[in-house]
Amino acid sequence: MNISRTLLALSAISLVVAFVACNAPDPEGRYDEFGKLTEDYRATGTTNNAPNNAVQVDFSGRYFLSIATSVLPSTPLFFDTTVTVDESFVANFSFQPLKTDFDPMGAPRADARVAVGDPIIVNGVQLGTDGIFDLELTDAAVSGEANPISGGDIVATIQLHGFVTSATAFCGSVDGQVSEPTQIGLAGSTFAAIPISNDDLTLIMPEGKCAAGVVPVDDAGTDADDADMGDAGPLAKIRCPAGLEGDYVLTFKADVQSARSQVKMTVAASADTNLCYTGEVASLTSGDKIGDVEYLREADGVMQILVPNFNIPPGATPLLPDGGESRLELTATHWTKEGSCGDLFFSLVGLPITSPGDFAAIRQDSVLFTVADSMTAAKCTAIEPVTACGLDAYAGTYNFKFITESTAGAGGNPTLITLELATHPLTCLSGSWISKTNGSTLANVQYAELSGTDQVKLTVRNFVIPPDPTNVISFLREGGLADATITSTQSVPGTSMCGTMSVSLIEPLAITSAATFGADVALEPAVACP
């Protein structure tokens, strides 16, 4: 009987232990955990997918079209795309899939971007008067060699919601569904098409989404006079960058123009903080005034210049034998105190004629840059540095720590700064300032310049200070906004640097604070030079 009890007790204990300790699998729970953990990485539709500078224009031509899927936006699908547009703005498209740059094993393809499979034809697409079109590639078969995501054959229905932003560019958002090998949604994907001017497609730098340069909506919310229109959008954040007054050489070309125009632009600081700078444009040769600069300002991080009354002299264009007046809206995403370049939106006052275009402006007395008076140079490529900026060796990703006077003793803020060789002539080096905590971009490094003979100075604008209830500076616990200049005093280019900073808080208070920093590509740096 004792044995019986002992066995029963053993059995009971082992069963209780087993059931208590039993590890119940919960794969769905851990799947959801991963989803939450990575939701900041997940595409929810990128910005700049809906540019508001779309126009109804004949955009016939051959394009290199890239679809950046939400699955893996950094490796787009490529299509050699031909567009023909008739006089009613009805467009026919031919999308020829192209081989990827790398094979599924990651090796570069010798025949990258060569056509593979049959072209996908979509005809009869109406381009709206707002410059927007919609089309669907129904059950499009794409060979595995053209699929950079899995390397396998896919069948997908791809819906393009497109914006024609000039006679040679269109872009937009992508929706739809991959149906083979299995269902994968494409929501959140984007595309962009750039003109093909060289048959060697491997030379093309793909663009997977609409470029920045969307004109910010300058709207103060509902207007008492137009209350029935509702709220047209968020209020653009207007800022007045310092030090932009002076004379500039402005070159521009609307698509409807046969040649580039070049004028002088003069601006001075304005007391109106919504305008920032005002001035005029004038003939470079005669000095005669051609129009007013109503404002030059920064709106949502984009430079805006408005010339509402640009005077077109008689005979300048066959369209206007008696001359006329036009409106120039210039938007620049790249700008420094030396100049700016970007997109132009041209419209004739009183006539339903509009056209996209481009512009570049450089200080008339700049010793660093010139504007090429070339018929072929366009947009930012019209700007040419007089000499190389000499900061190439500073490119790299740095662990970056800084400490301001106000936060002394707090231990520094661990972040990352990436400095890339700029593809842009104005900025020399540009890059991002990234939070190590969550990977979010805190600010963009707007441009770099030489400091002294061998050091670097970085200009950072619109540094977003995230809300942090534990911030030692109480008025920043709700977050804030700042500009910063970072100047190295000691450096091993590409490896480490340290020096001083000037942090100009803009919101919630206007305070400037000195700081020190350290940066190192491999190690967590100190917050100051040794």
Binding site: F19, C22, P25, R42, T397
Partner: protein, 482 residues
């Protein structure tokens, strides 16, 4: 009365057990049949033989109920070397991040789980003195479950790394086959021979989570975008199989010889249907209806039990399990038209029939397992007619070749050591506790070819690793006889 009560309770117990049962992988492949302990063999007559040898119940008398709970304490590690990683230099311009990425994709994944698997069986002659005996049982012959430990020290810049280096094959989940068996045996008195036949309903479930990229790589990110994803597969099927066997009392009351055969579930390959949920790269999650093909082995069992003296008994039994049936598992979209043709692959993992509906093939999991066998030697000593001591030892071979071994389905050569005690508490109730440790031999596939050497649709991240495992099994059982 007691028998009627138990009979009424059994369906409820079975239903509860279905909800909680998992297999305990401790024989070859992912065979999990150790219920019955030392008495779970093809020479016995208890209800567990409905699976091991349905002829066994022909030697039973009256009504017998066996409730056996297998409790397994499993620990395992999979130590993935950096050499198994696809891209050895994912961030060539950032040495620190490069090193961090390699760390996030290598190292030791660990698991320490407790798993419970009940078995319930009943046999009866209906109280009639007839040579026909029938029975039914519920148990888990295949499968297991795994909850791999989180790596809380993982670098947060690679969010997937928290699930351990083995995550490209398994993170959490269950691969389980439950069986409901009905069987009958006819005892031929003159020949002292019983012939048995059983029919099995198999309830197959696979619900597992793993890290996955659609290109079969183990890349963590690409071009600044998250690349590492997750796939959660939840599929199930109901399949049928049969068993048959003979048990011969070669020496009256002293020696028995048994031989049995269990067919493959569904007599070939099975198709499990369900859903596949994905987080792929930076895309929003998606879900698709899918089919997963799989196969389970047929099994030949044999055994000899000799009890020359009343106090002593010797047993030798074993199995030959034809795991070569599991050549591949093929995951396809549910709308596929000809699954067999589409899933057929060449030796390099590529499609063999490109003209078939291969576009619907999501992933081929190359298995190419081998047949395996197990042999066990055991003995009993009765201190009294009611108290039995059991000892045993055994060996089970490995079914999985080096190139196919992964953390989701581990197998090694293994040895077992068993010690148990059974006490017949009353005329109608016996209690048993049997402890077995399964000693798995380490497997090092670091230098082996692997799934990363295959091409799509078979390509997967490198499965090369050093694998270790140990399972301690406790069988607790109650035998009721009426």
């Amino acid at each position: 009365m007691l028998g009627i009560g138990i009979a009424r309770a059994l369906p409820w117990a079975a239903a509860a057990a279905i909800l909680t049962t998992s297999g305990v992988v401790n024989a070859s492949g992912f065979s999990a049949a150790r219920f019955g302990g030392e008495r779970g063999n093809p020479t016995e007559s208890n209800p567990s033989t409905l699976y091991y040898n349905p002829a066994g119940i022909g030697f039973s008398t009256g009504t017998n109920v066996l409730i056996d709970v297998t409790t397994a304490f499993r620990s395992a590690t999979a130590d993935r070397p950096q050499s198994a990683i696809d891209n050895q230099n994912p961030f060539p311009d950032d040495a620190a991040k490069n090193a961090a990425a390699l760390d996030a994709n290598s190292g030791k994944g660990t698991l320490s789980n407790t798993i419970v698997a009940p078995m319930i069986g009943v046999t009866t002659d209906f109280g009639l003195d007839i040579p026909l005996k029938v029975g039914a049982a519920f148990y888990a012959p295949f499968g297991g479950q795994a909850v791999w430990d989180k790596n809380d020290a993982a670098d947060p810049q690679f969010p997937g790394a928290v699930d351990g280096s083995q995550r490209w094959y398994t993170i959490d989940g269950t691969i389980r086959t439950l069986a409901i068996t009905g069987g009958a045996a006819y005892y031929l008195e003159p020949a002292r021979l019983s012939i048995g036949l059983s029919g099995n309903v198999y309830l197959n479930t696979i619900e597992t989570l793993r890290a996955r990229n659609s290109d079969g790589s183990d890349d963590l990110e690409l071009g600044g975008s998250l690349k590492e994803g997750r796939s959660l597969i939840s599929v199930s099927s109901t399949d049928f199989g049969m068993g048959a066997g003979v048990l011969w009392e070669a020496w009256r009351r002293k020696a028995w010889v048994g031989l049995s055969y269990q067919s493959r579930p569904n007599f070939g390959h099975m198709e499990l249907e369900g859903t596949l949920q994905n987080y792929l790269g930076a895309a929003q999650p998606n879900e698709a209806d899918v089919i997963l093909t799989s196969s389970l082995p047929d099994i030949l069992r044999f055994g000899i039990r000799v009890r020359p003296k009343f106090r002593y008994e010797l047993r030798i039994f074993g199995d030959y399990t034809r795991w070569s049936a599991l050549e591949q598992q093929c995951l396809v979209d549910a709308s596929i038209s000809d699954i067999d043709a589409a899933c057929e692959v060449n030796a390099d993992g590529s499609f063999k029939n490109p003209g078939a509906d291969t576009g619907k093939v999501i992933q081929n999991l190359s298995r190419k397992w081998n047949d395996a066998f197990g042999i066990r030697l055991g003995g009993s000593y009765w201190f009294s007619k009611d108290l039995e001591l059991q000892v045993g030892g055994g060996y089970d071979s490995n079914a999985i070749p080096d190139e196919a071994l992964d953390a989701a389905l581990m197998d090694m050569d293994k040895f077992t050591a068993t010690l148990g005690v059974v006490y017949q508490a009353t005329e109608w109730m016996g209690l048993g506790v049997v402890a077995t440790n399964v000693f798995y031999l380490e497997r090092d596939t670091t230098d082996s070819a692997g799934n990363n050497d295959l091409v799509l649709p078979s390509r997967q991240p490198g499965n090369q690793a050093v694998y270790n495992q140990n399972i301690f099994v406790l069988n607790t059982n109650v035998t009721l006889t009426f």
